[in-house]
């Protein structure tokens, strides 16, 4: 879905350079998340997904050299 958005606006050479699972323990490193929110996530999300809640991806792409400025 995200990659399609890159193509739709005109980017070329769209590449997923990295894809890494991101789990609840990873979120715990961030000061953005309060302990009670992390606990809420632990309860709300099935344990099988706790280690792969989302994925961290790196996407690279380029603007074609012949693209209109």
């Amino acid at each position: 879905m995200l990659l399609k958005k890159f193509f739709n606006v005109g980017f070329a050479d769209v590449t997923v350079a990295e894809r890494v699972p991101f789990g609840l323990d990873d979120l715990g490193r961030y000061p953005l998340f309060a302990p009670d929110f992390l606990e809420f996530l632990r309860r709300a999300i099935p344990p099988a997904r706790h280690r792969e809640l989302v994925f961290s991806i790196a996407v690279t792409a380029s603007k074609p050299a012949n693209a209109a400025r």
Binding site: K5, V9, E18, L53, S62, K63, P64, A65, R69
Partner: protein
């Protein structure tokens, strides 16, 4: 389906990122950056690293290039980009929150990197001319926008023909429970 309007999302981001404190030390930075990269960076930039990857590593920056760091936060990627493009390059950091703009300006100054300029603004309307940037980098910020296609279109607009973009972000490959998706705290992350 969007759970927040543009205005609601922006208010949540302003609040969450305006209040965040570097209590966790450098745990996030050490997960993504090599120790040698963190050497010599201002402590605040390292401890306020809130990204989800290392877009500068994938950007293959060259000396003399002009880089835009979308959602620069406290500026860790801005600083690394400035090192990579050297004294003939230029790096522009853009962030929504006044607190992060102030931090990244201070961190650039503390690092002695005069090639960095930090602006306050929204990534859906990047305050830069067309075709003025060689490389756009962004770290864990695109998912904060309710208009991701608009952000990418704006990135495309400001890039010179042949320019590059390197973005790290979190993506869902399987839906989360509805009550999690409706949580402001989840949006902020």
């Amino acid at each position: 389906m969007a759970h927040f309007s543009d205005d609601q999302a922006r208010a949540i981001i302003l609040d969450a990122y305006g209040r965040v404190r570097a209590e966790g030390g450098a745990a996030v930075a050490s997960a993504f950056y090599a120790p040698v990269e963190l050497e010599g960076l201002p402590r605040d930039a390292v401890e306020m690293s809130l990204g989800v990857g290392h877009p500068v590593r994938h950007a293959a920056l060259r000396p003399g290039e002009t880089v835009l760091d979308l959602g620069c936060g406290a500026g860790i990627d801005t600083l690394l980009a400035a090192r990579a493009v050297g004294p003939t390059g230029r790096v522009i950091g853009l962030d929504l929150t006044p607190e992060m703009v102030a931090r990244s300006r201070r961190n650039a100054q503390d690092a002695g990197l005069g090639t960095i300029e930090v602006r306050q603004g929204v990534m859906e309307e990047i305050p830069l001319p067309d075709a003025s940037i060689d490389v756009v980098v962004s770290n864990g910020v695109l998912n904060l926008s309710t208009r991701q296609s608009r952000v990418l279109a704006e990135s495309f607009r400001v890039l010179r023909p042949g320019g590059r973009i390197s973005i790290t972000d979190l993506v869902l490959e399987e839906a989360l429970p509805e009550d999690v998706l409706k949580s402001p705290a989840a949006l902020a992350g």
